[in-house]
Amino acid sequence: MALLSKKDANLIKDPLADNNPITIQVLGICSALAITAELKASVVMAIAVMFVLGVGNVVISAMRNIIPSKIRIIVQLIVVATLVIVVDQVLKAFAYPLSKTLSVFVGLIITNCIIMGRFEAFALGNGLWRSFLDGIGNSLGYGIILVIVGFFRELLGSGTLFGFPVLGDPIEKTGLYSIGYENNGFMIIPPAALIVVGIIIWVQRSRNPALVEEN
């Protein structure tokens, strides 16, 4: 990437693999379990978090020298909550159907520990541009896991992708269903997401043993 220095580029690249917020930092697990039953929700959530984390990181970074350390967590919380409410209100006024889709995510974004985690760990100690990159990188890393989990859960649980039937019709018994295949109802309930995330963590650590923690 010629656009970014090597150090800056790593801010984007690291969270995608060796410092992934979900599989390595184990942040943002709750929303990863809650909304990954379908691919569309995963993508929407990833984009929403990218916006909030990108902008929020910049705001916190801009205020980093004047935030009183005693109440910094409260300040961070207010910044996230304000951002999310502003976005929600603007969407309600100008893109109503989209805001209906997003409404359920609003609460989940505010409580997403990745956001508070990055504010606390990065934006409070770094400049605007680097904080912005860190926000985008971490939300991409979060998003990619969401999409992978959403892909498998929707495919195996409902036989669809983005709502389109890709394996045939389970009721009319066409496609794969005609040879006896059945949807796995377990995949659409949240514990299945935990198992899928677990498998991802396993695959990732067996490919790169350096990530395995020493006891």
């Binding site: 909304i35 990954t36 039953a37 005693k70 409410i85 309600k92 109503y96 359920v104």
Partner: protein, 249 residues
């Protein structure tokens, strides 16, 4: 100049300024946008009512398509011939009955007071529809909807929506494959106003049996489904005195 951000005075001042700034931003935004937001909500109600009585742009592919926002007002006045409010034995016409908040009315009914119950009478292709608004509780938050009946108390169409049900599970109550199942079901069981149950394992996933007061539930959304069934039952119960006067079978 370095500021000592650890001082108590500074902390208090910072917190106060922050509250004022954030408060003003949100207040400014809320008042500035409330006109547009209210209008969007009004259109949405009209779209939902029309959707339940079958005035929509649904095609075969299975997604929910409302009447477009810019046409909804004229379509609404065209198809909804009468809006009435039922208060005890009193029935009055009210052009803005669709704006009545069902949540408040249900709360009144629970307290033993007489609620004001809106009902929309629509006409499409010579057939009369009675559209009733509903309100209830899902797993996480409120759910609501509209149910369109004909004079034989057979469901002609429904619309459900929710505030915060789980995406991919309970949130699917606003999908065609769930809502379409209700059409053709009767809310009557003999002469009893029974409502419609959202049943698990009724061995009728295609919903061929239209006389069983049951539709097939959504997998993984038991509580939301039960909420839908309870909501229909409660609503039908509230309206049954009036429904009795229009029932023809």
């Amino acid at each position: 100049m370095a500021i000592n951000t650890d001082k108590n005075v500074y902390t208090v001042v910072f917190a106060s300024v922050m509250v004022v700034v954030v408060g003003s931003i949100l207040a400014f935004l809320a008042t500035g946008l409330s006109g547009r937001i209210n209008e969007n909500m009004r259109f949405e109600k009209q779209q939902n009512i029309l959707y339940a009585m079958g005035v929509n742009e649904n095609a075969d592919e299975g997604s929910v398509n409302f009447v477009p926002t810019d046409e909804v007002e004229s379509e609404f006045s065209q198809y909804i011939t009468e809006q009435i409010v039922i208060k005890g034995d009193e029935v009055v016409e009210n052009k803005e009955a669709y704006l009545i908040d069902m949540k408040k009315q249900l709360a009144l009914a629970k307290k033993g007071q007489t609620p004001e119950l809106p009902l929309f009478i629509g006409e499409k292709e010579g057939k009369k529809f009675y559209v009733i608004p509903m309100y209830g509780k899902g797993l996480w938050d409120d759910i609501w909807g509209y149910i369109a009946l004909d004079s034989e108390m057979v469901v002609q169409g429904v619309f459900f929506d929710h505030k915060g049900e789980t995406p991919g599970l309970g949130a699917n109550i606003n999908q065609r494959y769930f809502m379409d199942d209700f059409s053709g079901e009767s809310i009557m069981d003999g002469t009893k106003y029974a409502g419609i149950n959202v049943a698990k394992g009724n061995n009728d996933p295609l919903n061929n049996d239209k006389d069983d007061n049951e539709v097939d539930a959504l997998a993984g959304a038991t509580i939301t489904g039960n909420g839908v069934a309870a909501m229909i039952k409660e609503t039908v119960n509230l309206y049954k005195d009036y429904l009795q006067t229009i029932r023809t079978n």
